[in-house]
Structures are given as C-alpha cells and as structure tokens.
Assembly symmetry: C2
Homo-oligomer: 113 residues x 2
Amino acid sequence: MSGKIPGMNVSMLGSLAEPNRMAIVELLRNGSLTVGEIANRLELSQPHASKHLKVLSDNGIVEVKPEANRRYYKLRSEPFRVIEYWATSFQKDMERRLDNLDDYVQELQNKKQ
Amino acid sequence: MSGKIPGMNVSMLGSLAEPNRMAIVELLRNGSLTVGEIANRLELSQPHASKHLKVLSDNGIVEVKPEANRRYYKLRSEPFRVIEYWATSFQKDMERRLDNLDDYVQELQNKKQ
DNA sequence: ATGGAATATAACTGTAAAGGCATATTTAAT
DNA sequence: ATTAAATATGCCTTTACAGTTATATTCCAT
C-alpha cells in the first residue's frame, strides 16, 4: 500500500497560520513537550493548548507519544519538507519566467489589442 | 537556540491558507493576470476576486501594475524565499536534534522527576 | 477502591472573516 | 459630455473558529 504523497494543502498551512499554534511549533523546535509544559510556557489554559495541539495533530504537523499520564508532542518533519518544496517550486517558476522573458512577451501581447 | 525567522509571520501564512487565494496564487505561477481574468478563470465574482487580491497584496504575496483601465497582479518572490528558509530551518533543527540525541537525553531527564 | 494529576472533549459565546450585493471611482472610447 | 468597461470599496449576512468553563477519561499512587 503505497501511501499517497501528501501534497501542499491549505488546511495544513492554516493550522500554522494562528499565533498560538505558531508559538507551539516554535516551542517544539527544541524537542518534545507535554501538554502541561506547553500550556505553562505559553500561558494558555490546558484545554486551549489541547485544542491547538489537536489541530496541529490533525494536520500532521505534530505527533504524540503517550507516556503514562502524559502525552509528549513533537514536530513531524514531513510537512516542513512539503512546504519547502512548494515554496521552492514557486521560486523556480518565477526564475524560469524571468529567463524566458515571458513577462515582456505577455506585456506586448496585452498592448497589441 | 534557533530564533525566529525574519519576515515570517502568521498573517502572511494566513493569507495563503484560504482555498480561493491559494488558487489565485497557483494561477499566477504562469505570469501576471488582471482581476477580471482571475475572476473568470476561478469563477469568482469580481468583488470577491478583488478582496482576495487585496489580502494577498497587503501581505506582500502579490504586487500590482496598473495599466490603463486594468490592474495586473503578479507574484512577488520574497515571501516564497522567506517560507522556504523558514521550513528549511525547521528541518535543520530536527536533524540536529537527531544527531545530538537530544530526544533521548530529554526523555531521560523527564523520567528522572 | 479511592484520590489526584494530566489530558481530552463537549457545550457555549464572541468575534473575525468569507461571501454577496450595490455603488463609487477611474479610464478609454465615441 | 456621455457611455461603457474594469476595479475597488462599503454594507450586510452568515459561517467558522478562537477561547472559556465544566466535565469526562485515563493513569498512577496510596
């Protein structure tokens, strides 16, 4: 069962486009943390932290490792590879268009009519 | 360690994290387009397209070149460079942590208490 | 088994943003 | 001058989601 290659999708981006969730992600750069630790450091209520972590988890940004009472959340690397690839592809397209002078050609065509 | 990435902010990500705006951005891969062309191809109302373009413009994703009656929108490259750099920095941090066995160390520390 | 700690979740509220409609503004053409 | 085309913007409604509170669940310790 070859897993489908997860592409770029808006909901993944959306999960990162929220201040508290971005703060969580930045916090997890340094390694895994429990819900309580995350809530404490970011001064969020526990349910609030859990909710944001669920969004991040549903979008594949983080993964959980239960350890007795606690749940350790940590970043997954895949979404960041996907985002990097996506962003790079845009830069390549833009460079290519510059090389081919598509802009200039298109501009001329537009002025023709 | 590993501070914030200059230029990366959630509202920029948020401007891309909406289906119609993502569609606009993908459409603009091929070059600049007018509001009307964008609205037609994506089957959006003209005001709707204009509104989304304003969000993208306010966040530096696109730039405008007025040409008589029309306004040509095209992608800016900077935000994509910023996003790529940001995503790359996360992968580097994760690789580094793997190399340093930070996970293991942290796990031990956590179990100590 | 009982109590407490850590976490998840359901129900609720408030607010911000998407989407639609009408209109203002700018420019070209006649 | 007048008309038409392209675009922006303001107002309105609806929907989505962040945030709070209360409660349920799970696990450990005694």
